[in-house]
Amino acid sequence: MSAQRAMFSESELRREDQPQLQLVPKPQAAGPDYYGIPFLKRPTWKWQIASYFFFGGISGASFALATVARWAGGERTAEMRRLAHEVSFLTLLPCPALLIWDLGKPARFYHMLRVWKPGSPMNLGTWILTTFGGIVSLTAAQSLGEQIDIPGVSRLLRALPARAVEAAGLPASIGITIYEGALLASTSVPVWNQTPLMGLIFGASSLASAAESIKLAALLRSPEAVPEWAPSLDWVTRAARGLEWGTIVLHLRQSGLAGRPLRRGLRGAQLFGSLGLTLAAAALPMLPAPPEHKPRRALWGALLGLAGTFLLRWVLVHAGQQAADDQQAAHAATRPTERAPGWQRARGWTER
């Protein structure tokens, strides 16, 4: 020991003589964080939730478009309205199964409904989905009652005021598309929570994909001609895609370093691919084409747009994994601000 001590003079070892040797935070050899170990947990959500966001968004937005079609389009858009209701019903079918599949304890899915807790977006979403499911089933039954005559039941269904049912379903249908984004945003995952834009991204994206789904349904039913009301849906797609991608770019810009997991690597490539697919889908109907090619073009356009939307849902959900692992992004997302100063500043910490 004495041999080692001799390395330093007597005064060096006595703290009172060393005012310059203050305990101050300084860069350490180990690095500014804890051995690069992420401090956030990876989200548990995988492909089931990405798929649910895709189908749920289409279902909700299709219903909303059907309601608007009845109010604004009248009888000329009656076919569109019927198709929209069918799309809404069919895309809603896989949703409960996907949501239950994702649970750690699937048999306990109904625990979601044991409380009314609107402050929790997932609880609110479950109630919205349940309400919406009831209304969509009712509209589907009504539509079935119009086509098939079941004694007694059909009369009962026809007696239901269709407009009132649609009006009741409208808030729930819009709610489904928006809460999906808000659900991701109100977490501690940096790539989701930095801006108030996730609800908008999901709302716009759902409307665009719903318009494409309705068009796809029409073309699958009668592939020989593009329906005359299709251009009105194309306008919805174009406007919604513009809003969607404008908002995504804004979200990435505002997120700064915290948005890195969405810009780089596999997720960045997927996001770019999604942009390409949806842009191509929006551009296809605008390109000049001989009339006989138009239905096929429209079909491909709708398919590309839906593929792009699915890819977007996939990226947004799965980027949460990379975001939780990227501890630099996570620390950037929790940098002290005026609204969230943290405790280090609050206690008069002096940085050098």
Binding site: P25, R108, P121
Partner: protein, 290 residues
């Protein structure tokens, strides 16, 4: 099945309790980890050495509810650190030729039991609640493993167990507290680095400790979580730290996830209303033109 829709009467509220973890007293013995595992009958995680420190658990998880972090601040070779103080450690070679000063920071990490906990706000089943001691508690008979609290927690505390699909975390030894006993980790801690008691009392004690440390020249000591910080609530399990929060793998300034909710809803509604307006306009034109 219907039993879950019945709610039992809540026990009468008691004095809020919590932990004060004073990292300047921690010697890294991991007795808290062992005591926690033993009392709560948690499975082993294996000895997963990373080759970076004596930390073999690395993070809090479904089966690790106390985790001792080992921060080894050793100066790079040939450089002498100016850090000397309570934790300052002599790091000399056997022959004494390259003697350097470094320090070890140890922290026994645990669920922060936030007073306004993001996990409780996120939980869609009501499985997560504040018990009568105002501790954040996961009811294992209710949790359905949706995983929302896992993403909500800004400290990465909650974790879904792979074996049973439910979320597990520190209960602040709810069972022991009910019998008037001290939580296992605090009981086992040999240096009183982990202190358990009524939160108000702990805060007083912690502030006195910081003052004492400052008086003794350790000007870097501060409390992490003893009071609300902007939108984020105070923590019922708070810490005394002597370096940046990142050093201990804690977020500098956690955000309250639910503060993002309303702006997301409102902007989403506004955008959707706008787009439905576009739809109404174009459909109206289609209805007339055709």
């Amino acid at each position: 099945m219907l039993t879950f829709f019945k709610t039992a009467e809540a026990p009468p509220p008691q004095t809020p309790t919590g932990f004060f973890t004073d990292t300047t007293l921690c010697i890294g013995c991991k007795a808290c980890e062992v005591a926690c595992k033993q009392w709560n009958q948690l499975p082993s995680d294996g000895l997963n050495w990373r080759g970076t420190s004596y930390d073999n658990t690395h993070v809090l998880s479904a089966s690790t509810w106390r985790h001792v972090a080992f921060v080894e601040q050793l100066p790079a070779h040939g450089e002498r650190s100016g850090q000397r103080g309570i934790e300052s450690t002599w790091m000399g070679d056997a022959d004494g030729s390259t003697g350097q000063f470094g320090r070890w920071l140890m922290m026994s990490d645990v669920c922060k039991h936030c007073q306004q906990a993001p996990c409780e706000e996120a939980c869609p089943t009501g499985a997560i609640l504040y018990n009568e001691f105002h501790n954040v508690y996961v009811q294992q008979d209710i949790c359905n493993g949706c995983g929302y609290c896992v993403s909500a927690c800004p400290f990465g505390v909650l974790d879904r167990g792979e074996e049973d699909g439910r979320v597990h975390k520190c209960t602040l030894c709810y069972d022991r507290q009910k019998d008037g006993m001290t939580p296992a980790c605090a009981k086992a801690c040999p240096t009183e680095s982990i202190q358990f008691g009524p939160v108000e009392e702990l805060r007083e004690r912690a502030r006195r400790r910081v003052e004492e440390l400052h008086r003794r020249g350790d000007s870097t000591a501060y409390l992490y979580g003893d009071q609300p910080a902007g939108e984020y609530s105070a923590l019922n399990a708070f810490f005394l730290l002597t370096d940046t929060p990142q050093t201990y793998n804690l977020p500098q300034a956690p955000r309250r996830p639910n503060a993002r909710l309303l702006p997301n809803y409102l902007l989403g509604l506004a955008g959707t209303a706008l787009m439905l307006g576009v739809a109404a306009l174009s459909m109206h034109r289609a209805g007339r033109a055709a």
